[in-house]
Structure formats: structure tokens, C-alpha cells
């Protein structure tokens, strides 16, 4: 299988890693919200590739940002420039790109696809506000990814940290929303843990505006053949498949 060279790797705090890979084609065609499947092991351990969202693209390279949570991400964190990995992608549907105004809501590592989306909005001159919340101070190392959007960002941390709103990303969004009516044609974009989406499904505000959420699921293939990434549909029976029908869905579409 074709191998992709690592061009740079940087650790961000104790548990996050930014990985830059060579890839003209992926850089050229990727849209915000899409992901790649990346092989972590050289042998069969781990056996399956891992899905990771696309953080940014340059001319002939693209970057991923991941949290080390298990064997696969640990091995990926040990790569060196010049090493190669196998990559499939870009995969999945991606976000819609032409709202009149956008609200971005990210929890923790859910920041990844929304950074890519925010840079698209910035280039396209689409106004947006970016809410990002983390559980603890350690995750705040990722705040540097929001530096170029800083006037439009609202940051919060569940631990009390000076300079940050205290509480969840949804508490800071809710207080902002009371004084900031959205214009028609606005959309909300969200990525974060399932618990965040579950709370959003209960907040009346989010049923009055289109909300696009980027889901995570355990994946076998990432391109629609194994049917392993099933998530229950909200209406009617049956499942959607995160890799092929998503990873971006409308909030009311899915049972979380």
C-alpha cells in the first residue's frame, strides 16, 4: 500500500500531537469536516487504521491533531519526520460551507475539524463565533490553534483558570446567545464528546437553527464497506453510518 511521508511532528502538552504529512492530493481536495484513516502499526498491532480529522491543509501537505488515548495514537505519536504511514482519504461528507453566519462549538479535541472550518469562513468572509471548552487546564495548550481567530473566540474551562470562562462550552454559549440574535441563514457547527451533543439535543435554542454535528464512532474501514460505524437514526428504524453518511449529521437526525 502507498506510503505517505511524515514531514513534521510536534507534541502539544503531554497528550496532544500535531502530525504533518506530505500529500498533494489530500491537501487539494479535502474539505472541512472530512477525515483520513491512518495506519498506526507496522505489523498487525493495532490491526485497523484510525480515523483522524483534518486540521489544516497547505499546498502539498496536511496536518492532523490528535490526543493520545491508546495504543494506536501512542504509536502515531512516536513517528519521526521521514517515517512513512499509510493513509486513506479524504473520507466522509464534511460540513456545509455557505451559511450567512456561523457558530462553532467545540469540546476538547473536537476543536480539530472546526479549526479547518473556521479558516475557511475567515477566507470566505463569513462571520463566525468560535466557542471552545475544555475539561481541564492541560487541554488549554490547544488554545494556540485559535490564535488567528482570537477576536471571534470564546474559551471556557470546567476547572477555574484565570482568563477563561468557567463552566462548559454550552454554558458560555448560552449566555452569549441571549444578547446575540443570529441572522437568518445562520448555522451551528459542533464537534465534541457524545455527552455534549446529548445536552445540545435538550436545549430548545438548538431546535430553532440548523445544527451540524461531527460524530465519532468505532470504525472498521472508514469508507462504507464494513457497516461497523453504525449510529441509530432518531426517526424511524435503522442506522446511519458515520464514515459514509457522516461524520457530519444534523443534530436531530441521530440518536446519541
Amino acid at each position: 500500500m502507498k506510503q505517505t511521508p511524515v514531514t513534521a511532528i510536534k507534541t502539544r502538552g503531554g497528550s496532544f500531537v500535531e502530525l504533518e504529512l506530505a500529500g498533494k492530493e489530500i491537501a487539494r481536495v479535502s474539505r472541512p469536516g472530512q477525515f483520513v484513516m491512518i495506519g498506526a502499526g507496522q505489523s498487525y498491532d493495532p490491526f485497523l487504521k484510525r480515523p483522524l480529522g483534518i486540521l489544516s491543509v497547505q499546498e502539498d501537505r496536511f496536518s492532523l491533531l490528535f490526543q493520545i488515548v491508546g495504543q494506536g495514537t501512542k504509536l502515531l505519536s512516536q513517528l519521526q519526520p521521514g517515517n512513512t504511514v499509510s493513509v486513506l482519504g479524504p473520507l466522509g461528507n464534511g460540513f456545509s460551507l455557505h451559511p450567512s453566519e456561523a457558530v462553532l462549538i467545540a469540546g476538547g479535541r473536537g476543536i480539530v475539524p472546526l479549526v479547518f472550518l473556521a479558516s475557511h469562513f475567515q477566507q470566505a468572509g463569513i462571520p463566525f463565533t468560535f466557542f471552545w471548552g475544555v475539561k481541564n487546564e492541560l487541554e488549554l495548550v490547544l488554545a494556540s490553534y485559535l490564535a488567528s481567530f482570537s477576536p471571534s473566540c470564546v474559551l471556557s474551562c470546567e476547572e477555574a483558570v484565570s482568563g477563561y470562562g468557567c463552566g462548559t462550552v454550552l454554558t458560555s454559549f448560552s449566555s452569549w446567545e441571549k444578547t446575540h440574535p443570529l441572522r437568518s441563514g445562520s448555522r451551528v457547527y459542533a464537534c465534541g464528546p457524545q455527552g455534549m451533543f446529548r445536552v445540545m439535543q435538550k436545549i430548545p435554542f438548538f431546535s430553532g437553527v440548523p445544527v451540524e454535528v461531527s460524530l465519532e464512532a468505532r470504525m472498521g474501514c472508514g469508507f462504507g464497506v464494513c457497516l461497523g460505524c453504525a449510529v441509530k437514526k432518531k426517526e424511524g428504524s435503522g442506522y446511519v453510518h458515520v464514515c459514509k453518511d457522516g461524520p457530519v449529521f444534523l443534530l436531530p437526525e441521530v440518536e446519541l
Binding site: M1, G220, C221, F223, G238, Y239
Partner: protein, 301 residues
Amino acid sequence: MNLETRLGPLVLQNPVILASGTCGYGREMVPFLDLDRVGAITLKGLSVMPWEGNPPPRIHETAAGVMNSIGLENKGFHRFVQDDLSWLETVHTRVIANVWGRTEEEYIGIARLMDRLERIDAVEVNVSCPNVEKGGESFATNCRVLHQLIGAIRRVVQKTLLVKIGPTVAELEKTLKFMEREGVDGLSVTNTFPALAVDSERQCLVFERKVAGLSGPAIKPLALKLVYDVRHLTHLPIIGMGGIMKTEDALEFLLIGASAIAVGTANLVDPAVALEIVPGIESYLVAHGMNRLDDLIGKVR
């Protein structure tokens, strides 16, 4: 170099097949490989009516393998015809329809529908399905029930008829004898191996259905043994599969007598791998002074 191989009346341009459930309905593979160059593709298992499959989690990784509990989710025959059939007409390779049912009647229904489609070259019957009329026991585990099922399907299928068996097939020798008598054209060996995964963190079983099917390199030696045993019990042609990741794995199955091989779980990790195996087999034949695939098949007894 002649890589042609035969499964009863069905001739394949080469012995490398994509296994059911790991290549969708074909179209999903197009970004990764040229389907015209594989020996055949086997469609995801289809039933007459759509079937929603099992609740997640559906996939669990093990050492050198994957456990799946997809539960045969599929869009049903009619949506398959609407969505995929005309596209499949543009593909120049053999298409094998993998079929299943929850009752004998459902099996016969889907087999008959597939048999009428010109684009379908062969019908592969997955017999490792729960039989709702027999309290959910697999069709494969009851020799008498299986015999009757296969006989009934043969009567409605004019095309090449393949039966896909696995480690749970009861009374192997007897089963293979009646498959021969009923006029089955070939056997696909093997389906996944029933296996269990335990989550020690949450102190529960990983899968809601408890048992899931293990596939991938972890099962290759078990699959080889099953193919080997089947080879010695019947003359029916065999599609060997189970953990094939590369050329050498494919050669092992061919050497012990499989007429063709299928790549399954490997497609999930490297969807283009089948097209490395085809020239891999060819180079091996050249290197060993053989000029036909037939010289290789069954060389190891």
C-alpha cells in the same frame, strides 16, 4: 500466463475474489482499485427485505484480527436493484451475490430473485444465519435442516451455486456428501469464527449479542485446516479464505487445493491489496517454472 480458474461452470480470469461484507456492493471500492482486474467481487449479504442489523458496538479489534457483529445489515433486494444494479453492469468482472434468510422460504426467495438477474454470475448462500423457525439456531448446525435448505435452493438456482460454510457446520463429511448430491457447484470456506470479547474495565461483554465473528490473520491457520479437511472430503471446488493479507497467504490456500481465494478483512485495512496479490501469484508461478494456475492448485497434500 494463464491465471484462469473454474468454480464449476463459472470461469474467473484470476483466482482473487473480494469477500462478502468487505467490499460493499462494489462501488465503494472504486476510489481504491480497478474492479475489472479482480477475479470476482462478492456483494454484501442480501436478503429479500431490508435488515437493520445489530446495535453498536459492531467492531472490536483483537490481536491480528477483527471481531464483527454487524448482524447482516443490508438494504434489501429491491433497493439493491434500484441503487446498484445498473452501476454493476459497467463492471467487467464476475459478480457473486451473497444471500441469506431467516427462514427457508426467505432463502429461496432471495436466491430465486438473484438467479433472474443477468448481471449476477453466481449465488453464494451464507448458511451461518440464525433460523427463526428453529429458535435462532444457525442453519449450519443442523445437518438435516441444511440438507433440505440446499436442495430447495438448488431447484431455483440455474446459475453457479456456491455454499459458504464455516467452523460451525455440523457433521462435515455428511454435509459435504449431500452438497455433492444436490448439485452444489462450489464451496466458500470459511466464514468467521464465533468468538467472545470481554471488557474488563466495564466488567461486561463487549457485544450485545455476546458472540461475534472473528476474522483476519488471527484465523488463518484455522481456516487453512478447515479448507484442508474439506479438500480431503469432497471434490467440489473451494474458494479459500480466512486471514489472507498478502500473496504468500493466498498461495498457501491454493497449494492445499483451493481453486480460488477471497480477501476479506484485509480490504478494510488496505482496499487495494487484492491487486497486489494477483501479480504476486503470477510472479510466483513464473519463479517456479509453472505456466498455469492449475499447476499450483492442490500441490500440497
